[in-house]
Symmetry: C2
Subunit: 312 residues, 2 copies
């Protein structure tokens, strides 16, 4: 019998999902395998998503509590952004290690509240238990004003874009990233993006999700990838580019735009007051294959991988 | 500084809630302090609730995995029932201890899926992490076809009812209880109940929640309380009645009916094919006071308490 420790995330999720019967339900417009579920509801389609931050894995005991709260809710807000949804109501299941005093937890909740409030959302409830390690399991409900942008709509010939810059988030940005809610919403509501995902496990891994679900490949332009200042300062033997491609927790959006519309898209984006976006590559007909095009125009297979939550 | 270990659940939740600003949002029809949040959505009001089952606290490692899944989703279904809502979509955040093989977790999910499917709901997604102790954090979205039944609507003179029988769930029923979805829905949609709660922490504790939020007291009729066979077989020094009043995890509904409508209510209930319900007492004007009326008609203060999740 294979034990969980030797079973990787995708396989394990597939096994669990095989025991669920939701796929046959016509209300479930998008099921397991995208950034959020999409649920048909009278009046408006809803997105549903959940994520966890766990002490030791997603934050260290010495982190500022308000930033831990920010991160906990920011992760599900980023999932909403990746579908083009607007977050509305969140719940938090708290596992509270008694080593943190109540005032510390109050700061966690203040940080969480500050972020959701900026996007017009509300922390509406949840549950509290004592336990170790501390953890916040956060659930978000959002609404869609347009069709959701899934991972499955990319086509060969589409151009590949990311928001912001990538890599080195472990130096701090993993605790204060900005969920790209306005960007995701605009991309969905204006009908620009053919596919979208948020970068939680690193470009290398998250791009593979889009490729797998859309049945395409990609050529990444090494020179174009926006490498963050943090990635450049890591100085640990890996190149800044490798950090930008493989580090997790950027929480930027990766999305695709039809090549024929790319020029108009870039012009429209520039007028919206949104964060910077950069074209980083093109989609190809080679399923699941990622190539990296170097400065000298030579290309080679890109086999770096991002983070696997259940990896060995 | 008070440490969490010495802070009881209600106080701690109050402190966390003080950092949240959702109360001012007109979409939040029912906020923290009831069985679920109620969120105003175009087309239909939604209920949102979350709960956790944690290995060692809510189940032991040797429990049948399908029953663990049943319990995990059953708890949030029971919350939906207590508002009169119909569950629609659930998410599960899994913390998986590697000591359980994937096939064991598949059984957990099968048990969860079997229960939600019976009520027309769907497990629509979630998240998976490796960790210890194992836990399932479950989130549910439900819809309301009538006004929600909160904890705050009980009036002096109302009669107090419970479904099923109480006590001794630790002998097994805590893993296979039946969420009272049809009963809760019927009570809400027919407009019978003035208040409702599900019994998760024991009658003594959960009744106090209703009394506190409604500003009333109660006289319980000792002879009327439906003591379960399990409570009678506990044989641990506590009386069966004390078990029925203080044991947690009954997941029955406790609700109130105006005295003038009680006879008509009992007649209507009997025709609906629902589980047994029993009148167990009457509400009084003495806020927060619970009296127990014995067989000989003498009454005395009932100061037993149920379970406090964060108690010392």
């Amino acid at each position: 019998m294979k034990r969980l420790a030797h079973t990787h995330e995708a396989d394990f999720i597939r096994r669990l999902a095989s025991r669920l019967s939701g796929d046959g339900d016509r209300r479930l417009l998008v099921g397991i395998g995208d950034d959020t579920a999409v649920w048909k509801c009278p009046g408006r389609d809803l997105v549903l998503t959940s994520d966890a931050v766990i002490e030791g894995a997603h934050f260290l005991p010495g982190a500022e509590p308000a930033r831990i709260g920010h991160k906990a809710v920011g992760r599900v807000l980023s999932d909403c952004a990746a579908m083009g949804a607007v977050p509305e109501a969140l719940l938090i299941n708290l596992i509270a290690d008694p080593s943190h005093p109540p005032s510390w937890w109050e700061e966690v909740y203040r940080g969480a509240n500050d972020l959701v409030t900026r996007f017009g959302a509300v922390i509406a409830g949840g549950d509290v238990s004592k336990g170790t390690p501390s953890a916040l399991h956060v659930f978000a409900l959002g609404t869609l004003a347009a069709n959701p942008v899934t991972r499955a709509g990319a086509k060969a010939g589409d151009w590949l874009y990311v928001t912001g810059s990538l890599g080195g988030s472990i130096l701090g940005r993993h605790l204060d990233f900005e969920p790209r809610i306005p960007e995701g919403r605009w991309l969905a509501e204006q009908g620009w993006a053919t596919s979208m995902i948020d970068l939680s496990d690193g470009l290398a891994t998250d791009l593979r999700h889009v490729l797998a679900q859309s049945g395409v490949g990609a050529i990444l332009d090494a020179e174009a990838i926006p490498v963050s200042a943090a990635a450049r300062s890591m100085n640990d033997g890996k190149s800044p580019l490798e950090h930008a491609i493989t580090d997790g927790e950027d929480y930027e959006l990766l999305f695709t735009i039809p090549g024929a519309r790319a020029e108009a898209f870039e012009k429209a984006w520039a007028g919206e007051g949104l964060v910077t976006t950069t074209r980083i590559g093109t989609l190809t007909r080679d399923p699941d294959r990622i190539e990296l095009r170097e400065k000298d125009r030579t290309t080679h297979l890109m086999d770096w991988v991002g983070y696997d939550h259940l990896g060995p």
